[in-house]
Structures are given as structure tokens and as C-alpha cells.
Symmetry: none
DNA sequence: TATGAATGAGAGTTCATTCAT
DNA sequence: AATGAATGAACTCTCATTCAT
């Protein structure tokens, strides 16, 4: 039988079997951990299912029991990150109206730092062409929506369209926080400081623009 | 300002034979053009030497005569982009002290737009782990040096260390201009406008900081 | 009547490369021969591309250069058989009006015996679900059309619809000639004799029915 | 006439555990039913034990308790069919001396039609090379013996050797009745009618030959 | 006893690279 | 020098079968 990979189609989490026993749950966790490492080290295409299986102490057949394709495994990883990103943003949105813009700039950079390990795997996966395009689309949209919320809370009166454009760009800028981790510690520290400054000045400028318009 | 090597001969790693005759030069150009297209369409890993050969009307054996490995071909492409990026930045540096910061923000975004086609191939290649790490390292360093120059010219008195940190972050932000091209036209337009605003407020803030320090 | 392609070159199948050099043509011949043996011995599903490659002294990659999938290889084999079957039937149709029915019965059984080696591979392939359904469909239709021609020539006045039904059944009966080759020699000889007798009496009966109708 | 073993216990090869309790017998029946469906739909090689287990509502481990290998499951199915075929032929043999040859031709075609569902699974299994060769051998021999009986009853004086040759060929011809079911209804109807005519003329011809010899 | 998670050999297929012509 | 046929290691994925629970 020919071996072309299947498509995940509509299933949000193409998952062969949801593990029902404790043992299975541990195995899935081990697989995801190993997969994240391998995807980060090698990149999506160069990562092999064989290595992921070996590193997680799983037989290749068992790996495929839980994740029917390489793309499904990547999707799953992405989805998990998406969840924590989106809830992180939601939390931030709740507090945003009580924060200074300096505090918000700080919090945004920190948010990314918190998610750094997972972020690295996302960088390795978001641009891969395999797996479900839907998952990546969803991930992007949820992140943008969450970030828009934060911005509109932090800058009352900010028009939705501008909030959206800012969110798109903001998410891109914050990606730099993950990228920065590849730098030497001194550079990294300075870049992160610079990022806070960038965000601060940008947010202030946006607030002034809103104030000028409403006056 | 240090320069990138003009000729491949100067690059110490797996490197293409420099074609001596006109015919060879045309062939190399055709290969590079095809390779750029294929790398962009498929990504580095999924791109095949066979397809690059076919699309450039070259026999696979001839392709390997000019570029001994796939990685070397990618390196070469990266090097060419690096060259045009660096010279673009050098040009900008010359004019930077006569520009307003608004003008500079505009010019930076435009610079990236000019290089967009080539930029796309860079995006496809910089994260690929194949080929020479040195080439990527060089590419990054030269870009950063060039950008630092621009910033120090535009903001007299800007300390070198901060210029470097800003350059690192600036280059990352500008990458968003290429990424934005994947968005729908309306979003893309707004994001680019937002990017100009971001750069403007950031540059002004940096200038004020310099002024405050020197006062 | 539409014709089967005469030459493999014209075959509309997924074929990676039509070999242009003598060496390539020999290799293709070796592959087809080995493939026929393996398909016959193991059946389509159990036959492996690896074994076909090994038995034909071909590297697996080279095998795939000529036949891009296992199904394509099977299709090609089927098509070659189809060609010889159809031309065998066409020849017979030309002579059928000058033959006695006994002679025709004999000739039909012999036709199958002539094609026996190839026939065996057809038996292994026609029922396989892989490969192009179209090829098998074509093969069946062309065989039936050819056999109908023979019958209408041999029994003038035979209605087309009955000729078709007889052709379908006739082809099935003749398949027994190939199946019979698996028997021990004594049985095989008797079965083939019996087959001639069956065909003779059936053809006579059909001729009488035609005569009775036209009277 | 020799009989096929009634119980699996008598079969000397890899064989299922004979379930002792009612519950087990139901389970085995469910498995065999599901297996027949899957073998027919997918073919022997493509059928999976997992799917058979799932469709019969059996755990894969339990399936293997009753049938130790896939081949054993197939053998068992074949054996059951053999049993009903042989008893059908035995019944026919009892009545054969009181039937006209037309009636017999009709009855033979009908016999196959009656067994059609089971026949389909036989077609899927007899050519599979897995499982016990002995089982298939037995199946063939019992069928041939039964058919010989029928023919010798229907045509008194028919020599045993010719009866055997006719039986072999007859069984092959009748296989066409199952194959015909894949055709469109109109074709199928005509092919079956033709098959009756073929059998009729063949049987008559055989009877005449016997009469001529004995005279 | 019954279950289904686990196993791993092996299948089809790809493609960077080599080398005979 | 130019060509493209040849190579084979490595990859994704399947499934008959086993065995711990």
C-alpha cells in the first residue's frame, strides 16, 4: 500500500487514540516533550519520527498509535502552546486597564519569556508546510484576537482596526524575545531592554493619537 | 565598514566553482533564479536539487558542477542577498544624517520592500540548519553592523552598545515587512503603516534619551 | 473500435522516464521480467519492490526511476499483456471465417497457451485493487471486443448482444487454461482436451441456434 | 463419498480453539461473519485483523484466542464454505439421476448463486498464499469429488477419469457465475443464460460420446 | 479469562549525490 | 565538459502478533 501521509482534515486534534490509562498519559507527555526537543533542534522537516520515538523511549508503533502522522504530532504541540498563549493573553487583558503602559510593555515581554521553551517549538512549527493549515490559522487568529483585547483594554478608545494591525505587528515583535534567546547573554539582555523601550514608546504614541482624535 | 567578500573565492567553505566564461555565468544566474523560486515555494528541506535543475534548464550533473552541495547553493543565495542588503544599508547610512526620523522610518520599511523577493528566499534559508553556519553568522553580523551605522548616523551620540541592541531588534522588526506580505492587502497595508509609526516613535524616544543623557 | 496503445512509449501511465538509451531499455526489460516472476510467485500485495529490484539486478532507486509506483509497474505489465492478447485475437478474427468450429476451439485454447507465461502474471494482477482501475477496465473491454469479433466472424449472423455475452463467458472459460497449468501434467492434459470439447459443443450449439432463427 | 471434517478439531494445522460454551460460539460466529465481509471488501492481504476484531465487536486479544493467526482465520472460513459446497453437491448427486440435463445445468448455476455470498469470500481467499495450503488442497479435492459424483450420476457410464476432468473444468466455469455478479445487471443476466446454454450443450455432448462408446 | 497497549520488522518511496558515457 | 542514469541510506507509516494488567 502506498505510504503517502494522510490529512488531518476537520479533526482539530488528529489523535489516533486518546490515552485512557495513566500509563498512556505519561507516554503521551514523554512523546510531546521529546518531540518538542527534536523539532527545536532539527526543525520540522529534519526531525524524524524515529528519533522522537527513541528519545521518548517509545516504540515507533506506539508513537503512531497516539499521533497518526508527523503532522498531527506537530499540530498537537502547536495547539498546546496556543492554549497557554491565549490564556496568558486573556489574563493580561483582565489586568490591562489597571496597568501603566510601562507595566504592560514589561508584562508582554515577560509573557513571552515565560513561554519560552514552548515558544521555541512554535517557531520550529508555524512555518512548516505540513500538518493542518487550519491549526496554524486558528493559532494565529486566537493570538491576534487576544492581543487586540489587551490593547483595547490598555488604550481605551483605540479603534478595532488599528488594534488589529497593532496586534499583528506586536506579536511579530514579541517573537523577537524568543529569537533573542539564541544570542549571547549580554546581547540578549540589552535586546530585551530595548524591546521594552520600543513597546513603551509605541504604546504611548498610540495613546496620544487616540487622545488627539477624541479631543 | 567591513565588506562582505565580493567573490565566492573568498568564502572558505564548500563553494561553487566560479565560472570563467560568459556561458557559465548565465547558467549560474539561471540556477540561482530557479533555486530562489523553488526554495521560496517549497522551503529549504522540501526543495529538491532535481527540480531546481529542471526549472533552470540545467542537467543535474551540471548543477553539481557549479554548486557542490545543496547547502552550498543555499549559502550562495544567502550571500548574494547579504550583499545587496548591506549595500542598501550603506547607502542609507550615507544619507541618514540628512534625513528626518520620519523619513528614516519610511526608508527602512521601503528598503525591505525593495528586497522583498530576495527577502523571501532569505526567510526560507536562514532557519534551515544545512549549509554553512558561518555564512549565516556573517550575514547576520554584516546586517547588524550596517544597521548600527545607520542608527548612529541618524541619532548622533547614540552609544555603540545601544546602537547594536537597537540594530538587532530593528532587523527583527523589519522582517515583519516580509512576513506581512502573506496577509491580505488591507491588513498588510495597515500593518506597514503601523510599522512606520512604531519606528518613528521608537527612534524619537531614542533621540530624546540621548539628548537627556548628554545634557 | 478504439485501440490499445501499440507501444509502451505511448502508454498514458505514470511513468517516470521512458528510457532513451539502449542500456535503459535493457534494464526496463529486466525489471519487467523480474516483476512478472515475483507477482506470479507472491501475488500483487505480497510482492515487494525490493525483491523485484534485487531479482532484476537493479537498485531500488533505479526501479523507481522507471516505474514511479508499484501500481504503475503492475499496470505496465498488464498493458503489455493486453497488447499481445488483443493482437492475438485480431489475428484470429481475420482467419475465423475460414476455420471450422473445431479448429477455432483448438485455436482459442492454443492462443491462451501461447500467452501462458504472461497470462499468469495477468491473473496475479487483474484482481489487485491497486494501480489504475482504468487499465484493468480497458484491458477487459478490449479483450471482450476482440473476442466478440472472433465469434461473429466464426458464426455469421450471431447477434451482437449474444456475441458479447459469449465473449465474456468465453474469456472466463479460457482463463481455466492458465489455471490448469497448476495441475499435474496428466490432469492438465485432460482438462485442456475437455476444454476443447466444451468449446466445440458450445460453438456448434450457438451456430444451430442462429440457423434456426434465420430459417 | 468422503466428508469434510465436521469439527475444527479434526483439522491438523494451525487451528482455532473450539469454543466450549455458547458465548464463545456466538463470538466465533460474529468473528467469521465480520472476517468474511472484510476479506471480500479488502481482499486477503489488505484486510486487517484489527478491523475484523472491531467489526465483530471483539477485542483483538480475544480474536487471537480463537484464531491464532490470520491465515488460520482464513482457513476456517474456507473450510466452512467447503462444507456447504460439498453438501450442496451431495444433495444434487442424489437427485441427478432423476433430472434432465437441462435441469442439471440450471441447478448447477443456481447452486453457485445460492452460495454467492460465501463464494465471494472464497474468491478472496483461495488465491491468497497465506494459511494452510492443505486446506485449499482439501477444499479443491472435495469439490472435485462431489462434482464428479454429480456428473457420473447424471451421465451413467461416464468414465471416472473424464468425470474428473469435466469436474475440474466445470468448477472453473461455475466460478464465472460469481465473477459475473460484478457486471451490470443486463450483462450478468445474459452471461448466466449463456452459461446455462454452455452447460447444456456440453453435458449433451458428453452423453452422446458415452452412448457412442458403449454401443 | 479478557483486554488493548505495545512492539518492531518491513513496506513503499524519495532524493542528494556520484560517475560512466 | 556535459549529461542523466544509477545508487542506497533514510524516511514515514502499517499491522500481525505478543503480553502485562
Amino acid at each position: 500500500m502506498s505510504r503517502l501521509p494522510k490529512e488531518n482534515a476537520a479533526v482539530p486534534l488528529a489523535q489516533a487514540v486518546a490515552p485512557q490509562r495513566e500509563r498512556g498519559r505519561l507516554r503521551v507527555a514523554a512523546i510531546l516533550e521529546a518531540a518538542a526537543l527534536v523539532f527545536v533542534e532539527k526543525g520540522y522537516d529534519k526531525a524524524t519520527m524515529t528519533e522522537i520515538a527513541a528519545r521518548s523511549g517509545t516504540a515507533i508503533g506506539s508513537l503512531y498509535r497516539f499521533f497518526p502522522t508527523k503532522g498531527a504530532l506537530a499540530d498537537n504541540l502547536l495547539l498546546r502552546y496556543a492554549h497557554s498563549t491565549v490564556s496568558g493573553l486573556a489574563e493580561l487583558a483582565e489586568q490591562a486597564d489597571r496597568m501603566t503602559l510601562e507595566g504592560l510593555a514589561e508584562a508582554l515581554v515577560d509573557l513571552r519569556e515565560d513561554l519560552l521553551t514552548q515558544r521555541a517549538v512554535v517557531l520550529a512549527l508555524v512555518d512548516a508546510r505540513e500538518g493542518s493549515q487550519d491549526i496554524r490559522q486558528q493559532f494565529r487568529e486566537h493570538s491576534r484576537a487576544g492581543m487586540s483585547q489587551v490593547l483595547q483594554k490598555a488604550i481605551p478608545g483605540l479603534p478595532a482596526t488599528r488594534a488589529h494591525a497593532m496586534a499583528v505587528l506586536m506579536l511579530h515583535v514579541l517573537k523577537g524575545a524568543a529569537t533573542a534567546s539564541a544570542e549571547d547573554p549580554a546581547t540578549r539582555h540589552m535586546v530585551l531592554a530595548e524591546m521594552r523601550e520600543l513597546l513603551r514608546s509605541w504604546l504611548f504614541s498610540a495613546r496620544q493619537a487616540v487622545a488627539a482624535t477624541s479631543a
